[in-house]
């Protein structure tokens, strides 16, 4: 087990904990994007380029975009009801 793998795993664990402990979904979306990049690095170090390609496209672009759009939609729904 090389140092690179240990470092990548530690960063992923810390990143995941940070995403879970953040309360505001808007901030979580940005942290989720960073977490996606950390996971991509881990997958590359574990010799899985296909999975890394899939993760970087989905976890850094598609999912945070949808989360931010959902946050905005919910906020506008709540403002309209007021």
């Amino acid at each position: 087990m090389t140092l690179l793998i240990v470092l990548a795993l530690t960063f992923v664990a810390v990143g995941g904990t940070a995403v879970v402990l953040t309360g505001d979904p808007g901030r979580q979306a940005v942290l989720l994007s960073v977490y996606g990049v950390l996971l991509t690095v881990l997958f590359l170090v574990l010799q899985a380029p296909d999975v890394a390609l899939s993760q970087v496209a989905i976890g850094s672009a598609v999912v945070p975009l949808m989360v931010l759009l959902a946050v905005r939609a919910v906020r506008s729904v709540r403002e309209r009801r007021r």
Binding site: M1, I5, V6, L9, T10, V12, A13, G16, T17, V19, V20, L21, G23, D24, P25, Q28, A29, L32, Y35, L39, L42, F43, L46, Q47, A48, P49, D50, V51, S54, Q55, I58, G59, V62, V63, M66, V67, A70, V71, A73, V74, V77, R78, R81
Partner: protein, 115 residues
């Protein structure tokens, strides 16, 4: 130290579930489910890894007889990542509908779901 990757995977799953339990916002809940799913990807890829082996793509640098890591778990992880993103989208669409119908996305305030 060979149990460290498995422990990180288990930690991510438990952290995701902890986020779901403790959440005050349904969108936060959906994101924590996504974190728990990423724990399973780490577990799958750690099971398939072999020290000193290379990626399962054969070319000029990797002849078919060279040692490679396990492609079966990689195939499972990669389709799972794409498909679970769309399931996350479905959950987010549900959250938006809940906001429209009940005006709130705080789980403790959603009285209509009480038994």
């Amino acid at each position: 130290m060979s149990w460290y990757p498995y422990c990180v995977a288990g930690w991510l799953v438990l952290a995701g579930i902890f986020g779901v339990v403790r959440s005050r916002d349904l969108i936060h809940t959906v994101i924590c489910v996504s974190i728990a799913q990423s724990g399973t990807y780490v577990l799958l890829l750690s099971i398939g890894y072999q020290s000193g082996a290379s990626a399962p793509i054969f070319g000029s640098s990797t002849p078919p007889s060279a040692p490679v890591v396990d492609p079966v778990v990689q195939a499972m992880a990669l389709t799972d990542i794409v498909v679970s993103a769309t399931v996350t989208a479905l959950l987010l669409a549900l959250v938006v509908q809940v906001a429209k119908r009940h005006g709130t996305i705080v789980p403790d305030e959603l009285r209509a779901l009480r038994g």
